[in-house]
Every structure is written in C-alpha cells, then in structure tokens.
Symmetry: C4
C-alpha cells in the first residue's frame, strides 16, 4: 500500500462546493457536525482515503465484517448547496504525516473544485458551559472572509485560541491558505471533557447562516439530552450539584 | 539491508493453501496455535522475513549461536491440507511499518497461491475463563464466509471486538480483503493476563473444523496444566481461592 | 508540501553578513536576543521556512487571521553591520529533522554570503542568578575565534557545558563548522526556570562588542522588570524571601 | 548531510585485521575495552562516522572548541595484531537506524578486509560481582568459532543471554553473520548498575588470549579502584556493609 491511497467511489459534478472538515478533536465537535450533515442530507460517498498514517486497524460491523480504517469524503446536497464533507476516526500519527495527509485531503477538495473550506472543531474552556451560551470562535486564512462570518454569528477574539489551531484543522487553514483556498475554522466552545452535541449545534447554526441552508437538529438534541442525563447522574453521585471532577468527565462520551 | 528482506529457503508447490498468521498478541494465542501446527505436522521452512521494523536483536540458541530476529513461513501439510504458516516474535515498530510488513507477508501468501487466510489471536475478557468455556470470536473480510465459520463453531457478536482488530492480524483482513483475499480472524477468549494454551486449543478446534484436519493436542494440554499449576500456587500464596491480582498475572508466561 | 519549503520574500545584497540563530531554548535567551535585534533595527523579512518538522499548527493573530507556523530570516542593518537573523517558535521534531533543518538554515546563510555565525542560547545554572552577574559562556567551531570573543567578554570554561550543545544551536556549530563556517555559540547563564531577559541582555552586550554596534536595551529592561515583579509576588505568597520552588518557576514566562 | 556520512581520515593497509566494536552499553564494558586498546596502543584515527541517527549535538573540549558527535574507527597495532576498533558515545535512535548504521559500520570493516569481528559488551547480573569472579559470556555467529573461544576462556551457556543481544553489538553478529563475517560477542558479567572497569578487564583478558597480544591493565585497575572507593563510601553512608540499593547505584559512574 502507498502511504496514501485514495479510492474513487463516485465522481459527481459539484457546483461551487464548500469543503467541510470534521475529523476527531476537542469534544468531537467537528466530527458530530460533519456526520450530522452526511446523515441528515443522505450524503453520497465519493472517496475513501487509506493511509499508513492511520493505526493498523480494522473496524468490525454489526455482522462481523471488517473494514480497513480510513477517512471518507461524502458529497452532501444541503438544499441545493453542495458540500464536500470529510469524516473519519483518526488524525495522522506524526507531524510529517499531518502535513502529507492534509495535502492529500486538499488535493481532493481541489479536484472537486472547492474554493472555500470550513474546518470544524471545538475550543476547550475547561469548565461546563452555562445556560447553553455556546459561542463559536472563528479564525480565517483570508482577512476578507472575517466580516461575512461575523454576520453569520462567528466571534473573533484577539489572538485566540492562544495555542493556535493544531492538527488537520489547523493545516486546512495553513496549507489551504497557501494554496489560495478561502478557509475558515469554526470552533464551538466546549468544556473539553465531554462529547458535546450542544457545541456541535452551535457550530451548525453558524454554518447554516454562512452557507444558506437549514438542517434538522432533532438527532443532535437527543444526543445532548443523553449527555445531560449522564452528567446529572454523576452530579447526584457526588451528593450535590457540584461540577463533576475532571477525572470523571474525562471518560464520558 | 533493505527495509524488508525475504530469504527464499525452499519453494514447494502447494495445493490450494491457506495462509495462517500467528504472530504474538493477546495471550499469545495465535502464536501458540501456529507454532503447534508447525511442530505437530513437522512443517518445512520456506521463507525467512528480515525487516528493519523488528528490534535490532539476535537470539542465542542452546549452543550459543546467534540468529538475526525474523519471521518465518513454514509449509505445513495437515493431513493433506496445505497450510502456509507465519510465525515470529515481533510485530512491527510503527503504524507505517505494520502496513509495509503486512503487505510483504501478503505478497508471500499470494506467491504461494493462498486465496484464503486465517489471522489467529486472542480477545481479552479481563477475567479468568470459567469451566473451560473458551468461545472463539470471529470476524471476516468477506460477509459470505461467515456462515461456514459459524458451522465450524465460531461465534459472531455484533460490533465486537469493540476496539476493532489491530496489528498484523487486523491488516491481514484489512489489506488482504482489499486484495480479494478471503480472510477471517479467529480470536480465542482469554483473560489477557496469561499465555493461554487452553484458548489456543479452542482456536485450534475451530480451525480443524473449518479446514478438515485433525491434530494432536497433548503438548498444548501439557502447557495448559503447567499454567494451571502456576496460577494455583499464586492463589495459595494469597491464602485463598481468590483470583490472582492483575499485577501478579501480568508477569506469568 | 516538501519536507522543507523555503519562501523567498526579498533578496537584498548583504555586505559581509553575520548569521545569528535565535530559536527557542533554555530561558528563551537566544529567541529574546534575536527578536530584540529584529525589532530595534526594524529588520526586513527575507525568507520564510516552512517544514513538516514543525508541529501541524497555525498561529492566530489579533485579527483572527491564521499563519502556518514557520521560521523566519530577517535582514537586520545594525548601524551598518549586516546581520541575517533567524527566529521562530520551534526546534525540529526528531534527531534526523534537526540535521535536515539546520542544513537548510545553513544553505540560506551561505546563499547570503555569511562566513560567520553566532548561535545564541542560555545555559542553565539551576539557581537564580545573584546580583545581576550574568556570565556569557562561549564555544567555537574554530579555535582561532576564541581570543577575539574573550576580548568581547565571553567566558570559556574547560569542557563546559558538560552535556555539549544540543539542537539547532549545536548543529550550527557542528554542521556549520564542517562547511567551513566560523561559528560560535554564546550562552547566557540563566536559572533555566524563567524566560530571562537579563540573560538576553548579557548576551546582547557581548554580541555588540564582538560585532561593533550598539542597540537600545529599554524593552529588554522593561521585560526584566516585569519578570522580577512576578518572582517577587511568588516569594511573597510563600511568606518569605525564599526562592520560588522549581515547580512554581517552571510555569512562569 | 546524508543520513550516514563517513569521513576518510587515513587509509592504512591492514594485515588480516579484526573488527572490534565497543559502543556504549551495559556497564560501558565494551566502550572501556575499546577505548583502552586505542589509548594503550596509540591507535591511528582512520574514519569518522557522522549520522542523523545520533543526537543533534556537539561536544565541547577543554579549549571550548566543538566537535559534531560521531563514531570513530581507529587502527590499533596490538603487538603486530591489526585491530580496527569502533568507539563512540551513542547507539542509533530507532530500530531502522540501528540496522542502517550497523550496515555502514560493517561496510567499513569489509573495506579494511576484516573477516573476523568481536562485539564487546556487558551482561547484567543484577547484583554486585563477588570475589572478582567476572565470567565472560560468549555468543557466536558461526558455530565453528565456539571451540577456540572456549579455549580463550569464554563461557557459553545454553540460551543465554535470555533476551538475546540487542543494539549494534547484536547486529554485528546478526547482519555480519549474514554477510559471512565470523563474529563473536564477548559479554563481561557486571552488576549493570556501575561503569565496570573490572568487567572490562575480564573481557580484555579473553580478547588477549583469542587474538594473541598483551596489553597493560594499569589504567583500568586504577579506574576500578576509584569505583570501589565510591561504592565503599555509599556502603558507609548506609551504616553497614550492605549492598547499595539499586537507586543509589544507578547514578554512579
């Protein structure tokens, strides 16, 4: 196998598509949003990306059939808005691998004619978000894109996130920007301890505004309620309304 | 030395051979089965595989003579059933290495004409197995292969093992499946703490049923008795019939 | 992206320039000096060096605009003395990467005609420096360069630093020396626990003497005062004049 | 710089030379022997081996002059017996690197016409050696070489060392053996906690017998006495003749 092996599954013509990256990260926010889009709009698988950067691993499905771990691109038709959505279970295994792999992802996006990209993720606040006030923080590869995103509800804060943006999301902006791609990162605020469907909902709302489509939130709301029950139970076990400790939260999701 | 260096030792013609992978893993189940087959049927060494993915190490034999660490393919004639059995002491050292090395192993299997493969291993249950009820869990690269294996005694459980299958075994299915190889993974239940000859026996029984041969189990039974004595002594030392602690068990074998 | 990708920003003719390396290290001494030179003399950006050896990361500026992490070369005209100053936020990610990256840096220095180099850094003493007596330790790739540096105030101590010099600084001397570059390492004594502008000042003084220019120290002095306030507060919190513990100091800066 | 860069310093004609490897390892036994040979017989430097497998590091000498870390081959004329002695401060940084680097070392040995090799090292016993009874354990790439070594005082024990031989020493036998080199490993018993000049002496005695030369031991004896003083002081501090604890010993040398 080559270091990166891209399998062509289908090759639809897309109209002015936007590249959406939703690989795993803080609170699994980006992954939740990307998978929600693929499910709600019944996306079409267009590419499988296998790579020696991923763990040597197969998943086993409900019939006991294995599949070599890979990332997937789906074409999502969001009420006439064409999206090219990247999902998967892994980031790369090394610094160098992140660069090589993101370059390959950007090649696919370019091949489909994407001139715009959103890298989706979460930004950890270190505490549970109160009153469902989930801000969505933004960063852009191109200064001119900022105003439109502010109108869509994205917040820009000086020099934040302080540690920059790492992983594939960071490089979609870094390498994509150098290629001339108009790329933005949307980061939902999240505690950082939990898989966070509410933060995903906040990111999705911004994305709707920015791209002009609407999507049903029922599934995400259901998952959010499940998570709240889990948190509630932990709080009871602690005999009070206190916040679960970091250690307890780390393993939820 | 090249990253992978395959030494041809002999080149017998095999008739519809089955590739059996038994590298080290959970409970050394796969390794025990593969080595048992080579010994009982007096297998013929056909290939040595040296690789920079293995530790920089020589083993020393009973006469003080060294041998560079490597994996071996033996031809095993199991009562007329041709097997190509892979054994060794190591997995690869990196993600990328696992892919490269498994590809090389699959090349050898292909060269000998194997169209079917069994990757052998253990699946950890986290507790000692009671009453010798060692189930053998299965996963297949090809949905059609499932029925035959169920008849041979393999159990299929929805989405299990939950973490998928990792290492060379996983890739024999993942990469092998992509090449059109009909590959199955047979995983003997085992505590995960001990080298487990009983779990190996359970896997071997299933393999006999699936491929239509019979093999003597005396050696494995003897090793199983030795292991039981060890466990018994530990339980005595603890002054009771309690299960040895995880820490004690970790070092047995 | 190639493993190393050098972007030409401008290409001024330099007159007998000296290469100054100031990547992050002990006490961030080298980085502080290099950045101070670029700021005080209003340096001109000449090269951006991108590499897969750096983390997969973008920084976010005060307007929310991202930039792929990279190292920079500036031309600094220090009162008629031409300097080629290397700054950045990272060292390489592996042994091999350090060699490859330093070779690339030396190629740039050679391209601009540098025949002399200073690798700047700190040498940890393990305790806070008393009475502002910040010695600057030196090492040279070329024995003949020692005398001139001693005259400029550099101290040479037998076999020190005992552990040698590691990272890009070490290789500027090691690889640079093998190319015929006249390279010296200037290491300001520093506790090793704090970002140390005073140590940077000491290194800068030596550099001024060696190269024959003068630079304003006001900014470094201001940063040094800020650091002293921080240390003072910690000492108060400890209810005494004792030195802050290593754990407290580790996180300052 | 290339991954491996061999600098030719001189090119004497050697008569039936023996390759001696003495890189750092258990008790620094091999390194002590190799360096002792170079010093006592006033060896001539013939090759410097630089490699990206070594740390990015320069050493600093007593005059403050730096040298890029490397391994060295010396020609040693041991009373008419030609030796090609490899010394250095590092092993390789990765599995793959060990293979590549040892291959390069073997190329040099081959270039000088070595048909025989001794890889020198220590074998840890986990306890201080009593009454100066330092056995020297052996392993050979070629069964026929065993008898001669037994006559020289080497002990061969079934399947020992149990973990095989790792690092460059292991591969001098593993890779060298595959090339047809007659290679042996001589391992002096040593506690494993201390730099052990007495174990080095034991190895040196065997080597003298095997190759037919004599060397002065005074320097090694002196170092051994220094080590004994250190151990004695620790034992006093413990208020008794007890063996120093493993933790205390780990840091001596």
């Amino acid at each position: 196998m080559e270091p990166i092996d891209i399998e062509v599954v289908s090759d639809p013509d897309l109209e002015d598509p936007t590249f959406i990256e939703g690989l795993p990260g803080v609170g699994h926010v980006g992954k939740l949003v990307a998978e929600h889009l693929v499910e709600e709009f019944d996306g079409t698988l267009v590419r499988r990306v296998y790579t020696t950067q991923f763990p040597p691993q197969v998943t086993v499905d409900d019939e006991g059939v294995t599949e070599l771990t890979h990332a997937e691109f789906h074409h999502v038709d969001a009420e006439g808005v064409d999206l090219l959505v990247l999902t998967g279970d892994h980031q790369a295994a090394s610094n160098e691998g992140h660069y090589t792999l993101t370059d390959a992802f950007l090649d696919v996006a370019e091949e489909f004619g994407c001139e715009r990209a959103f890298a989706l993720g979460g930004v950890p606040t270190g505490e549970l978000i109160e009153d469902d006030e989930y801000d969505v923080l933004g960063a852009v590869s191109d200064r001119d894109a900022r105003e439109g995103l502010e109108e869509a509800g994205v917040e820009f804060r000086e020099d934040e996130p302080a540690g920059g943006i790492v992983g594939v999301s960071g490089l979609v902006l870094g390498l994509g920007g150098r290629r001339g791609l108009n790329a933005a990162c949307l980061m939902g605020e999240t505690s950082g301890y939990l898989v966070d469907p509410k933060s995903a909902q906040a990111v999705l709302e911004v994305l709707q505004n920015a791209l002009g489509f609407e999507v049903d939130f029922a599934d995400l709301e259901e998952r959010a309620e499940e998570m709240e029950e889990v948190v509630g139970k932990i709080q009871e076990m602690q005999g009070g309304g206190g916040m679960p400790s970091e250690d307890e939260l780390r393993y939820i999701g």
